[in-house]
Amino acid sequence: MKNIESYYNKIDALLAQRASSKTGKSSKRGLLAPSGSDNTTSKKEDSQMMAIADIVESIREAREEILNAKQ
């Protein structure tokens, strides 16, 4: 259960990072890009996690829309 919690938090962090990058600030600054150093998971796992993060984001957006429409 602890692993699932950390995975869920990881997706949360990913979505938060994506939201902050949408606002215009780029996280990749400086001489070394952080993506090269913290690339611990394989590409397949990364792509699967991104896909799940997309679905989670869309569900959250849909939920907010429904709740706003109800109010």
């Binding site: 692993n3 699932i4 869920y8 997706i11 989670v56 569900i59």
Partner: protein, 168 residues
């Protein structure tokens, strides 16, 4: 078949080693490749499944009893693994989607939910200091309320004992 007449020794019968090799090849779900490997498809299947009205009522019952969402999600995905729908890895990957769908169901039905069991423990646990104070207060209240019981002299028993005269 186990029933109330089954002897204890029969219940805890040890499994002979190598019993898994006696089953027919590919006769069990875990001996076959999973039905689905694409994570997105698996997630969509679970979203469709959670939209089912019959299942929805059961889920709402569970949510009202404050069962953590991760526990419900785990039960659902483990069932999928057992039946051979997908692998265990895919089950773990898909769990956040199920949790989000469950959160949406709860929000639409205005039910307060707990995502992880840890949060439930936080809300229910009481600090020992507070517990000690409550117990001390309760003991004090009970001691104050209890009326002092007058000690009664025991009447002498036995054949040779003197009987008390009435009116003296």
């Amino acid at each position: 078949m186990l029933n109330s007449n089954t002897k204890l020794g029969e219940v805890f019968k040890p499994t002979p080693p190598g019993i898994s090799w006696t089953a027919e090849p590919k006769s069990r779900p875990w001996m076959r490749p999973p039905q689905e490997t694409d994570v997105v498809k698996i997630a969509n299947n679970y979203i469709d499944m959670l939209g089912n009205t019959e299942l929805m009522n059961d889920i709402l019952d569970s949510l009202e009893t404050k069962t953590p969402l991760s526990v419900i999600a785990e039960i659902l995905v483990m069932k999928g693994v057992g039946v051979g729908r997908h692998t265990l890895d895919a089950a773990v990957l898909v769990m956040p989607v199920i949790i989000e769908v469950l959160k949406t169901i709860a929000a639409l039905n205005k039910i307060e939910v707990v995502t992880f069991p840890k949060e439930l423990e936080k809300g229910m646990t009481v600090h020992p200091r507070i517990l000690k104070k409550v117990i001390t207060d309760m003991t004090q209240t009970v001691a104050d309320k209890a009326a002092p019981v007058a000690e009664q002299e025991e009447a002498p028993k036995g054949l040779m004992s003197r009987m008390k005269k009435e009116g003296v």
